[in-house]
């Protein structure tokens, strides 16, 4: 009883269902289903790009972009930035002699001092960068020349670094730690900044060297083999004896005194290992923390930059700079994006006007179609 009523219901509701119920006698027709997809009649939005239809888009883009551009431009202009080239190319520059005489093989450091004046005070946290030009850190073979496992504290990689590190893999029969060309060419100038008080005393400005690397790099990607304690033992152990990179003066376990910033997790090292995208780049060196809300971090005035000149760049026509900069929410000082937004916005606006003219002159369709019959 139930079944029959169910069947009847089904037959009422679904005619096709009943047809298949009919059994084998009903030959299944090959007739295609009349569905929107199969008949290619899916409901669709069919925009037609005509002057009339697209001109609002142009105006809207223009109206959005120009304010954004202005905002960005203003933001970028508010960022204070100071840059000084200390390469020592010029005869009269302080580091000329250092630059002239220095090479990788030098054993002693060369010191030079550069004076400069900040016209405006730097209000918030100041970031101190070193900048290199013409340094192709993005060279294909250079970029590859590292062993991430080794840097991650992998013991086996420590003693047997990856082939990618060649030819900076082994030195004097010992594996190099850290191996590879990137590590080998670690930037090793030391910069110190002094505020020259009016009375001529040099006030060393405290430079924070922690927090300059990515958090994930410092805590996840880079790890010392066998923990941070006893680095010397690890890098010089019997089984895990390593050699320092050929260009380095000190082995990796002597990069810093602070055990939390030594070895592979030395932040200067980590920053350097993040290879720059373009041949002219800067890397964060130190941070000058803002101390109080009343005092500017770096008041305007005279400063002295003490440089331990270790890093030769003249051989490849490179340049070294020191940069002081505040940052905003959008990063460092870069007026480009603001200008770009303003330009594109203006172009859009202009094209919108052009389209409007075209529309009024030629595109009669939309006006005609608007009138209902």
């Amino acid at each position: 009883m139930m079944a029959s009523s169910y069947n009847a219901k089904e037959e009422d509701g679904h005619h096709s269902g009943s047809a298949s119920h009919g059994g084998a006698a009903v030959v299944k027709s090959k007739k295609p289903d009349n569905t929107a997809f199969k008949q290619q009649r899916l409901p669709a939005w069919q925009p037609i790009l005509t002057a009339g239809t697209v001109l609002p888009a142009f105006f809207v883009i223009g109206l959005i972009f120009i304010p954004i551009g202005i905002g960005l431009y203003v933001t970028s202009n508010n960022i204070k930035e100071f840059e000084i080239d200390y390469t020592g190319v010029d005869m009269n520059s302080a580091c000329y002699s250092c630059a002239k005489n220095f090479s990788w093989n030098s054993t002693t450091s060369c010191l030079c001092t550069v004076d400069f004046t900040l016209e405006q005070p730097f209000e918030s946290n100041v970031f101190m960068y070193y900048g290199l030009s013409n340094f192709y850190q993005n060279h294909r073979r250079y970029v590859k020349s590292r062993d991430d496992s080794q840097l991650n504290g992998d013991m086996s990689a420590l003693t047997n670094p990856s082939k990618e590190c060649e030819p900076y893999r082994m030195s004097e029969g010992l594996p190099i730690a850290p191996c590879g060309a990137i590590a080998n060419s670690l930037f090793n100038d030391t910069l110190k900044l002094y505020y020259l008080e009016a009375n001529g005393t040099r006030n060393e400005i405290p430079l924070v060297k922690k927090g300059i690397a990515w958090w994930t790099d410092k805590h996840v990607k880079f790890r010392n083999p066998g923990g941070n304690a006893n680095l010397t033992a690890v890098f010089q152990g019997n089984l895990t004896a390593t050699s320092k990179p050929v260009n380095w003066r000190n082995p990796v376990y002597e990069l810093d005194q602070d055990p939390e910033n030594n070895g592979f997790i030395n932040e200067d090292f980590i920053v350097w290992m993040r290879t720059a995208a373009l041949p002219t780049f800067r890397k964060l060196y130190r941070i000058i923390q803002k101390k109080s809300s009343t005092m500017p971090t770096l008041p305007s005035g005279k400063y002295v930059l003490d440089i331990t000149y270790n890093y030769p760049v003249l051989s490849f026509d490179g340049r070294k700079r020191m940069i002081l900069s505040t940052i905003s929410w959008m990063g460092g000082k870069n007026p480009f994006l603001g200008i770009a937004y303003i330009t594109v916005g203006s172009i859009c606006f202009f094209l919108g006007v052009v389209l409007l003219i075209i529309h009024h002159k030629y595109d009669t369709r939309s006006t005609g179609a608007d009138i209902p019959n």
Binding site: D154, A277, A340, I358
Partner: protein, 1454 residues
């Protein structure tokens, strides 16, 4: 020892030798071990691979594709340490992916084949087991050569079987070969001659013969061999003895046979060849651009390599710290490192060669094919079949066709033959009533909705004195009421029923006899009856009458029609007079129809049975035809019908006894191999001369008064296309003379007639008959009828014996049997005596004229290649609007090479002269013509649709087979082409299959155009194969054309939607997708290229290698597939309404060579934007390489997707979904990838990169500005271009937007869009060598307001295509099918008239009827010899159907 063993090897050797020519089959019962071990068994395996061989075999096959080899090469290059760019394993990923996708597809296909194989292999059949001495069930796969198989009715044959026994009393077996060749008629197969006389059941154990036959081959219509009995007697085996695998046994309860060929050696399997591989035009074009991509790749790689060398060089010996030494620590020279870098860059930039393009195209094509399959409009309810795409990879070619070559019979026409007229002994019987009946069928559909009363008046429109008219009225009404009352289901059932029997729709079966002829037949047969009764010799019969009776006998028996009864559709009517057949059901049937009994029940029976069962009309008409009863009957009918008319009820009266009896008894069905045969048999039956039974050696005919006559069938000389005739040799039961009846094409029969002795009266009479018949034949042909001549010949016993001996020799020959039989037939068919001729109409298929007109307007040139005679072809061409009465027709008939050359030269001159002169003339006229401007009145209608008189050259070319043969000669083909090209339509008559393919080949190769051949029969196969796209009509003539075709259609009219809609869509989708692919890859690679300038050309990539490799395969793959599958630039309705839009594809306007470069330039621009905006935004910052690369990748993805968005015309939810999916996929993959492993994925080591980027506002700011800037030019260009210079397609899209009712308004005003006026191309005889030349300009302002100011007169196209204005010129370029024609519109911007612009838009759609009439020219050289030439003089007032009147018939003495 040696002697003992020697026989075996020798025997084996011998067998091996024999094997080369023949196969020997012994019965498996003879020996315990298998006697035929080296023959294939019946297990079939159509799979390509086994589990083991799959991998190597499939890879081997895939590496045949060059692209795959290239990609593998690149991947392997990565394993070389000096040059490697990516992780080698990762670089393998795309190649492996591509290969595995293809492999999986192949595997799946193979698996499906495997499953169907298993299914087939496990079907059951009865095989004789020598162990159990009975038939046991076995699987098909277990069947071996030499097995005996018992077959029951409706079983499918498992192998090729030699028929040894049949339960049929005549030792026949009927098979249906529909699965093999699609022919639905039954075929008779005969038991091997030596087993004919076995009375008892066949016992395999008594079989000891050996069969020698030919090696397996794929010829379905050939089987040769002989059977050697123990006695040493040899019997010939022929194809009549062989039952082929896949056929179905019908009408036969049981049959036994021995397996000759099994499994893969069966003819069915050998005939099974896979789908064809063709390369489409678009793909060829694409390959050129792939080649360009390779060049670009090499150029940028070399550029970068040189750059790298220089970069290295500038450092000299001082190596900077960042320039890493080679792993060996050696210092590479700049030159060496440049060379290494070159290879590295090829790997890095490999994406430029679109690896995924090939796979994507395949996927898109499969989807397109699927969607075409699913189109309801291409589904034919009647035959329950839909379009089949047999070639999967040339869908887009459908959108680029330029020439269509069509067969006529079965393609344009229904191939439903309807008997129309006949002439017997020089007297014409016009069958007017029959013609009116046919007209009724035509009107039926249109009138279906009209009210009842209207129907009655129609047939009376013409007051015909014939006393048959009354019945016509009745008939027409009843048919109509049947149609009206009968539900759809009923109609469907009827169609299903008729499907079982080929060629037997009521239209073909019901023939109204001509009263005069009917009277004569009756008189004649009664006289004969009388004479037989009085045993007078038949020769006393007047020759007129004897001709008539002979004529009908010939119609009835000179064929291969098989008779069956309808109620059991597949059961043969079994009756053998005098011999067997105890129950004579047919005689009962006839007895009840004796004239005396008729009158009583006829009123009720006729009216009711007509309604209930159309087939019973037959009975009715035969009742009425008795001369004695005729006059009274007609009176009765007249009364009845006039009485019935006003009150006729649409509800059919109840069935009375008669009706049910009718249903029960039914009538005979005729199953014919060709529709002509059936038509003639049905025609003869209308004259009560009906075929009631056919056996191999006997034909039974029922004649009025005479009753049943059995003709002993001595021979049947079947029809072949060389002889163009068939003959039967019978022994006449009344005269005992051996008579040959021949039926064939008039041209052939006329030459075979007995030379006339004009001296005596008989000869004179014969001559008169021949003359008259020839006249009528011409007349028939002019009416578009197919003509056949009927002739006979009486053989003396001696003549016959003499011929018979030769013939038997021919029959038994193994070598060259066909040739010998042919010669034998030629010997017999001589000295014939002409009896008469028939005219059979082949009706046009539904919608053919409309389709032809639409295709015409789509700019397609349609050529008809037919084997029919010229006049028939010309008339059909008129009927389907291929030729226009308004246009001139060039007829080329030549009978020698020289004449043909001359003729071609002359026509060329003529065309040129006419063209130049008239165009100048017309141009002058045009300046003075004030044409009526198009006006728009308040109801938005065009008050006037005609704008101006203009001249177009309309030429039709008609050429016959012989002339065509000359014209196709190397020396003349160019000239012929030139003439043919300037004609709007070309008609080749009397052409052979080979000529058809030669014409197609010629046009395709010389004119470099895309050709489509469409046909339905075996004679079209070669043409279909030669053409770029072959279309088969799965019609009535079997499946050969379909097998050879790329697309199979149920009906010709579906071609319209297939080409105009699907072709266009497929083309524009694929073209856009390919262009997009090139753009996408170029844009992505260019990003990397720009970076080389900032990394010392070191081959470094800022984009993570994972993104680099999966960008194409995953992140940007889906939206383009969706767009490539579903995008519709113009709706199907508009495409069909405006066939002109098809020109778009013909001119390859979606994908022109320059577009590739435009896309490349756009790609370079976009990549510049995508590269340099992030570059400047991050310039001199502390960003690292891959943190900088991540936003670039993201931007590139956004830009590429939005670019697709601009190019996408139709946004369905699937487009949205795919784009959202792509973006989500990218971010998901990026986030997961960047979080997965802190130390892996050297060198990028992207740990937490994306996560950090997402926290940066800069990232979002970049994502906003970069795509906008990158796409701004394209977006702006598109908007301006559509507004200022819309292409027709874009205009079509705008028409789509108009609300449906408004659009309907516009189009209804626009008569011509639905009309048939098609205008020829203005490039007619143009100096440009290729059709492409004239379409250099492709974006022209059509709907320019300036034009519609009306200050310009109509313009004529002339050779140079120069109109008075630039616009005009461009117009004629843009729309080659349009003559330069302008529409003047009162244009005001603030007009209150709605849809002004739409009307302007429609301007180019509108064309106007021709006002200038041109005279037709006859350009036929009068040949010296017999072929006569009929001149047609055209009168411009005539309608197309009546356009041709033979005015001047020239008789030439034979």
């Amino acid at each position: 020892w040696a002697t003992v063993y020697s026989p075996i090897p020798r025997g084996r050797k011998k067998r091996k030798n024999k094997e080369n020519k023949t196969r020997t089959v012994r019965a498996n019962t003879l020996l315990n071990d298998h006697p035929n071990p080296h023959y294939a068994n019946n297990k079939i395996k159509t799979t390509k691979y086994t589990l083991l061989s799959f991998l190597p075999k499939n890879l081997f096959e895939q590496f045949h594709r060059f692209a795959n080899v290239y990609f593998v090469f690149i991947a392997l290059l990565n394993f070389v340490p000096v040059v490697n760019a990516f992780q080698p394993e990762l670089a393998l990923a795309p190649v492996v992916f591509i290969l595995s996708v293809t492999a999986i597809k192949d595997l799946w296909e193979d698996y499906r084949r495997h499953r169907s194989d298993t299914e087939i292999n496990h079907m059951d059949c009865l095989v004789y087991s020598s162990m159990e001495r009975r038939y046991v069930e076995k699987y098909w796969k277990e069947v071996q050569v030499g097995d005996f198989i018992r077959l029951r009715c409706n079983e499918i044959l498992p192998a090729d079987v030699l028929l040894l026994s049949s339960s049929d009393p005549d030792r026949l077996c009927h098979i249906e070969t529909a699965t093999l060749d699609g022919e639905t008629n039954l075929k008779q197969r005969q038991v091997v001659r030596s087993f004919l006389d076995l009375d008892c059941e066949f016992d395999p154990f008594k079989y000891h013969s050996v069969i020698e036959c030919e090696k397996p081959n794929n010829d379905l219509n050939r089987f040769r061999g002989y059977i050697v009995h123990r006695s040493g007697r040899r019997d010939v085996l022929c194809k009549e003895n062989l039952l082929l695998r896949g056929c179905t046994i019908r009408n036969t309860e049981e049959a036994v046979g021995i397996v000759i060929y099994a499994g893969h050696e069966t003819k069915a399997m050998l005939n099974n060849n896979g789908p064809r591989y063709k390369r489409s035009k678009l793909e060829r074009q694409m390959n050129v651009d792939v080649f360009w991509c390779v060049i670009i790749l090499l150029v940028i790689c070399s550029f970068a390599a040189v750059g790298h060398g220089l970069w290295m060089f500038q450092y000299g010996d001082k190596r900077p710290v960042f320039d890493v030494l080679s792993p060996q620590g050696t210092n590479l020279s700049p030159i060496m490192s440049a060379i290494y870098l070159f290879l590295t860059l090829i790997i890095v930039f490999q994406v430029l060669i679109p690896i995924s393009l090939f796979v994507s195209i395949e996927i898109v094509k499969i989807c397109q094919v699927y969607l075409i399959h699913q189109d309801m409009d291409l589904y034919d309810e009647e035959t329950d079949s839909h379009l089949q795409c047999r070639a999967l990879n040339i869908t887009e070619d459908l959108g680029q066709m330029q020439y269509i070559f069509s067969d006529k019979t079965g393609t344009l026409t229904e191939n439903k033959m309807v008997f129309r007229r006949c002439t017997v002994a020089g007297v014409e019987y016009s069958h007017d009533a029959n013609a009116r009946r046919l007209a009724m069928y035509q009107e039926m559909d249109s009138e279906e909705e009209e009210c009842m009363s209207h129907g009655g008046t129609l047939p009376r429109r013409e007051s015909v004195t014939s006393h048959q008219s009354a019945r016509v009225v009745l008939r027409s009404q009843s048919t109509k009421s049947h149609r009206r009352t009968g539900s759809r289901a009923e109609a469907k059932r009827a169609s299903i029923l008729s499907k079982h029997t080929a060629f037997s729709s009521p239209m073909e079966k019901d023939i109204t006899p001509d009263p005069q002829l009917l009277y004569k037949v009756n008189e004649c047969s009664s006289q004969m009856d009388f004479m037989r009764f009085h045993s007078q010799p038949m020769s006393q019969l007047s020759s007129d009458l004897s001709d008539i009776i002979d004529f009908f006998i010939a119609l009835t028996i000179c064929n291969t029609v098989v008779v069956s009864s309808p109620n059991q559709p597949r059961h043969k009517v079994r009756m053998r007079f005098e011999l067997k057949s105890p129950v004579k059901t047919i005689e009962d049937f006839i007895k009840r129809f004796t004239p005396s009994r008729l009158t009583s029940g006829s009123n009720s029976s006729s009216s009711s049975s007509l309604i209930t069962n159309r087939s019973s009309n037959k009975g009715c008409s035969s009742l009425l035809s008795s001369p004695s009863a005729e006059s009274t009957l007609t009176k009765l009918h007249e009364e009845q019908s006039s009485h019935l008319e006003p009150t006729f009820s649409p509800v059919p009266p109840c069935y009375d006894g008669k009706a049910s009896w009718n249903l029960e008894e039914g009538e005979l069905r005729y199953e014919a191999e060709s529709p002509d045969e059936a038509a003639l048999v049905y025609a003869a039956r209308a004259y009560k001369c009906s075929l009631v039974g056919r056996l191999p050696d006997q034909v039974t005919v029922e004649l009025p008064h005479l009753g049943k006559l059995s003709f002993e069938l001595l021979h049947t000389l079947g029809f072949d296309s060389t002889r163009k005739r068939m003959s039967v040799v019978v022994k006449h039961p009344l005269t005992d003379q051996i008579t040959v009846y021949t039926k064939g094409a008039d041209s052939v029969i006329m030459d075979l007639l007995k030379p006339l002795d004009t001296g005596n009266s008989k000869g004179k009479r014969q001559k008169k008959i021949i003359c008259r018949t020839q006249n009528y034949l011409n007349l028939y042909a002019a009416d578009g009828l197919r003509t056949l001549c009927i002739a006979k010949k009486i053989l003396s016993k001696e003549e016959y014996a003499c011929w018979l001996q030769c013939h038997l020799e021919a029959e038994t020959a193994i070598q060259g049997r066909e040739e010998l039989l042919f010669q034998s037939a030629l010997r017999l068919e001589t000295n014939l005596q002409l009896l008469g001729a028939t005219g059979v109409e082949d009706r046009l298929q539904d919608g053919v004229p409309e389709t032809v007109a639409a295709l015409r307007r789509a700019g397609l040139q349609i050529w008809v290649l037919t084997g029919d005679k010229q006049e028939t072809a010309v008339n059909i061409a008129y009927a389907c609007k291929l030729l226009d009465p308004e246009e001139e027709m060039l007829t080329l008939n030549a009978d020698s090479q020289e004449a043909c050359a001359l003729l071609l030269e002359e026509s060329l001159h003529y065309i040129q002269a006419k063209f130049l002169c008239s165009s100048a003339d017309q141009a002058a006229k045009a300046f003075h013509t004030n044409f009526v401007p198009c006006e728009i009145n308040s109801s938005s209608s065009l008050s006037s649709h005609n704008t101006s008189p203009f001249l177009v050259h309309r030429l039709g070319l008609v050429i016959d087979g012989r002339t065509l043969a000359y014209a196709l000669d190397k020396t003349l083909e160019d000239k012929f082409l030139e003439v043919a090209r300037s004609c709007r339509s070309v008609l080749c008559c009397r052409s052979t299959p080979l000529q058809k393919s030669m014409v197609v080949k010629l046009v395709r190769n010389k004119l470099k155009v895309m050709t489509l051949a469409i046909g339905d029969g075996a004679n079209d196969v070669s043409m279909i194969q030669v053409a770029d796209v072959g279309v088969g009509i799965s019609g009535q003539e079997g499946m050969q054309a379909v097998m050879a075709s790329d697309f199979a259609l149920p009906r010709f009219r579906y071609l319209q939607k297939l080409l105009l809609v699907h072709g266009h869509w497929c083309y524009s989708r694929l073209a856009n997708m390919i262009l997009y692919f090139f753009y996408k890859n170029a844009m992505f690679v260019a990003l990397l290229f720009w970076y080389q300038f900032y990394c010392g050309f070191s081959g470094s990539a800022m984009i993570d290698q994972w993104y680099l490799i999966f960008f194409n395969l995953m992140f940007s793959a889906f939206p383009q597939l969706v767009t490539g599958t579903l995008d519709k630039d113009v709706s199907a309705e508009t495409l069909q309404r405006l066939p002109q839009l098809y020109v778009n594809g013909q001119n390859s306007e979606e994908y022109k060579p320059y577009m590739f470069w435009m896309n490349m330039i756009d790609a370079f621009y976009q990549s510049l934007v995508c590269f340099f905006i992030p570059y400047f935004a991050y310039a001199d910052s502390d960003v690292d390489l891959f943190t900088w690369g991540t936003p670039i990748t993201t931007l590139a993805l956004f830009t590429i997707l939005l670019h697709l968005g601009i190019e996408t015309k139709t946004w369905t939810w699937m487009n949205w979904l795919s784009i959202i999916f792509s973006i989500t996929l990218f971010f998901t993959v990026a986030l997961c990838y960047n979080a997965s492993c802190p130390t892996c994925f050297s060198p990028s080591n992207p740990y937490w990169t994306m996560q950090r980027q997402l926290q940066e506002p800069l990232f979002y700011l970049l994502c906003l500005i970069t795509p906008v800037t990158a796409l701004l030019p394209r977006y702006f260009y598109r908007a301006c271009q559509v507004t200022l210079l819309p292409t027709p397609i874009q205009v079509g899209r705008q028409l789509d937007k108009i609300p449906a009712d408004t659009l309907k308004n516009i189009l209804s005003l626009n008569r011509v869009t639905t009309g048939s006026q098609v205008l020829p191309k203005p490039e007619f005889l143009s100096s440009q060598p290729s059709p492409k030349g004239s379409n250099k300009k492709n974006r022209i302002n059509v709907v320019d307001a300036e034009i519609s100011e009306g200050q310009q007169g109509p313009v004529l196209p002339n050779e140079e295509g120069i109109g008075p204005t630039e616009t005009e010129k461009s117009l004629s370029h843009l729309y080659p099918e349009l003559p330069s024609e302008t529409i003047s519109l009162p244009y005001t911007k603030d007009t209150t008239l709605p849809l002004l612009s739409d009307v302007i838009l429609s301007g180019w759609i509108t064309s106007t009827p021709l006002l200038i009439n041109t005279d037709r020219v006859q350009l036929s050289l009068l040949p010296d010899g017999p072929p006569q030439c009929v001149r047609y003089i055209k009168n411009s007032e005539e309608l197309p159907s009546e356009a041709l009147q033979p005015v001047n018939l020239e008789q030439t003495p034979p």
